[in-house]
Symmetry: C2
Subunit: 198 residues, 2 copies
């Protein structure tokens, strides 16, 4: 049996989302069809509204309703420290800690030659411009500890060398609550390499 | 930091879907915002269209664009055998095997007192009516082997006793490719209990 056409289209669309496979897409589409019509209409409107209202901040490329975004326009934040992340979701993860009071720069990706993403496809040039035009004291590289994240960090740190700016990166090591026994070798090596004096 | 309002609304809505937690909802919402406006519009339209066009079949309560549904109106199918499932997704799972040529009855749930779902909240009455008004030879109960599924199967089989109809249920036992060592006790007991002569 084939799915009835409108259902098939809906499932196809749900499958486009990251980490949603065919089973999840089917489950979500069927769940949607079980909702009431006004609810479905509301969901559709929410999507369109969010897409219309939310844009990239012209300073840090965070997603926001306002431009500059809530963070860039907040005078209580330290705009001399820029934390560089690859995606908005990473910015949100850092914000949830309530530990960081600087501003951000969202690259909107990482350099990944396998996926055809080069240095010019992400917001690196904008970061360099921002640093050359403003008085920045420190740039914290907070990219994921993956091959692509590492390569991007290295690339950016080289570009930043000529500027009079501190460059740091977030620590790699054992996550809290984890177990040495089950940690992988690279994580343990990094944890030893980056040990701190107490 | 709080999410910007339209984003928060969108994430809330995604979280309502089954098996979508806060992280997945955030990921899906951010992915949606990265789509182009026409794509978002298309997705919204697909949802509304699917909701408008797809209704329950008045015979078997499958979801379909037509009424009766494609299965009920297919004259090549054996309408004397009814397979009872709890959800449309179970019907789809059985259809994918291409092994079953009868028709279905989708209960739209199972009896679950803990969730406040009684026998009258699902399509049991409609099943009984269907059996009393048509010449049905066999009813195959294909509910999930959970406490609720079992209870519902038992309940239906009792209701069907007065009718001159064969009642069967799908086999419970070890799934193909699994390992006795890792199977749970109840599954193994069931597999032994339901052994077949070869």
């Amino acid at each position: 049996m084939q799915y009835t056409k409108p259902l098939a289209n809906l499932i196809d669309f749900f499958e486009r989302f990251p980490s949603i496979g065919p089973k999840s897409a089917q489950r979500m589409a069927l769940h949607l069809l079980k909702m009431s019509s006004p609810e479905v209409q509301k969901f559709a409107n929410l999507m369109i509204e969010a897409k219309e209202k939310i844009h990239y901040c012209s300073i840090c490329y965070n997603m926001s309703q306002s431009d500059p975004c809530e963070i860039c326009s907040n005078s209580n934040r330290d705009d001399k420290t820029i934390c560089v992340v690859s995606e908005t979701k990473d910015l949100l993860a850092i914000e949830k800690t309530n530990e960081y009071n600087g501003v951000y720069h969202v690259l909107q990706g990482v350099i990944s030659p396998l996926d055809g993403i080069g240095a010019n496809d992400i917001r690196i040039r904008e970061l360099i411009n921002r640093i050359s035009q403003n008085e920045i004291e420190e740039v914290i590289l907070a990219l994921n500890p993956t091959v692509e994240g590492e390569a991007t960090s290295l690339y950016i740190s080289k570009l930043l060398k000529p500027f009079n700016v501190k460059i740091s990166r977030i620590a790699m090591g054992l996550p809290i609550g984890s177990d040495l026994e089950y940690a992988d070798e690279i994580t343990i090596s990094k944890a030893i390499e980056c040990r701190v004096l107490i």
